[in-house]
Symmetry: C2
Amino acid sequence: MAKAMTLLWGAGSPPCWRVMIALEEKNLQGYNQKLLSFDKMEHKSKEVLDINPRGQLPTFKHGNTIVNDSYAVCFYLESQFKSQGNKLIPDSQEEQALMYQRMFEGLTFYDKLNAVIYYDWFVPEGERHESALNRNKEALTTELKLWEGYLQKVCEGTHTQTHTHTETQADIACFGLFKLLSAKRYPELGEYYNLLKDRPSVKASWPPHWLENPEGQDTLKDI
Amino acid sequence: MAKAMTLLWGAGSPPCWRVMIALEEKNLQGYNQKLLSFDKMEHKSKEVLDINPRGQLPTFKHGNTIVNDSYAVCFYLESQFKSQGNKLIPDSQEEQALMYQRMFEGLTFYDKLNAVIYYDWFVPEGERHESALNRNKEALTTELKLWEGYLQKVCEGTHTQTHTHTETQADIACFGLFKLLSAKRYPELGEYYNLLKDRPSVKASWPPHWLENPEGQDTLKDI
């Protein structure tokens, strides 16, 4: 089945990594893949635009079926390959609720992370304000403290554990984000990251870009 | 079952409306609900913060289970009440893929809409730039043209129809957004909106705020 799948991806992109982890978790190794370069603007190439009008990576095709958004791919793979590989959505009501909630909070987390990392990329020079970047940093710090609290509750057992024995959609959604942060200042995030980083699905899909920069993003050094 | 559910919501919020439409579609009428005022900052009240540390609406509780993100609630309700009310996730591979894809593209659409509607709210006075607002408007226009194209393909039958006979998660996710736009300039969006607006679930949950402003948001008048 994986042979009918094609993934166009870019290194250093948490959404691309999400899809690659999900493919590994669902035992869909052997899919066609092509690493494209964001620096060379290959995500805006005809090859991508023919499948993905947004010109973004990941771009994913299964037979004639196109799914490009990384969350959409994760849901699609779980729906189509429910009984193959690892189950990514837990059964119990409480675990499901928590999994969905954290998965979507992951998008907020990602937005806040990008608003700091890519501030200079998003905002043209003449429109930049130190005060805006500082506000973005504060918002990210608040967000990280929230996640530290969530994970502390998980460790204390007051919340259902969703990440120790099985990988869920929420773990897949968030893992690449925690990778970027300081484990010193956010010990719970660091512990969670360490729990997941040795999973076969994560190791098998580790993006080369991040092998070269093991210490994380410079722009996050004061977060 | 609905009696064990509580929804705290605010009028004029597409995420709140999403949850209310989903509850109707799943035949979960009779849930406890409380309309809170954003203007009075009631979304930052203790009542909300006790359930939702982000101090946002919707805030949703089912028994002791908390799910607050609107997309998370939609997935949770469909998972927990699969065979009750209307099925919100289609069966076929092609329809599922399209539904997930559009549902998550809906978040991008919503971000671009908010970047125009709430520009003055998000950006403090001293940091505002006409050029930034214009760029946000252009990005929104590009986004809307993309959706016009998607919906045209649906009408021409080159894509699977996902919205005429059944309401899906994607329709629920996006409906409240289309409500805000000009049907004159975006006829496909207008037609799609008209297809959905008379559904019992939509009529039953119509937010009072939008009854008072039937012509849409002023800030979008030149979009």
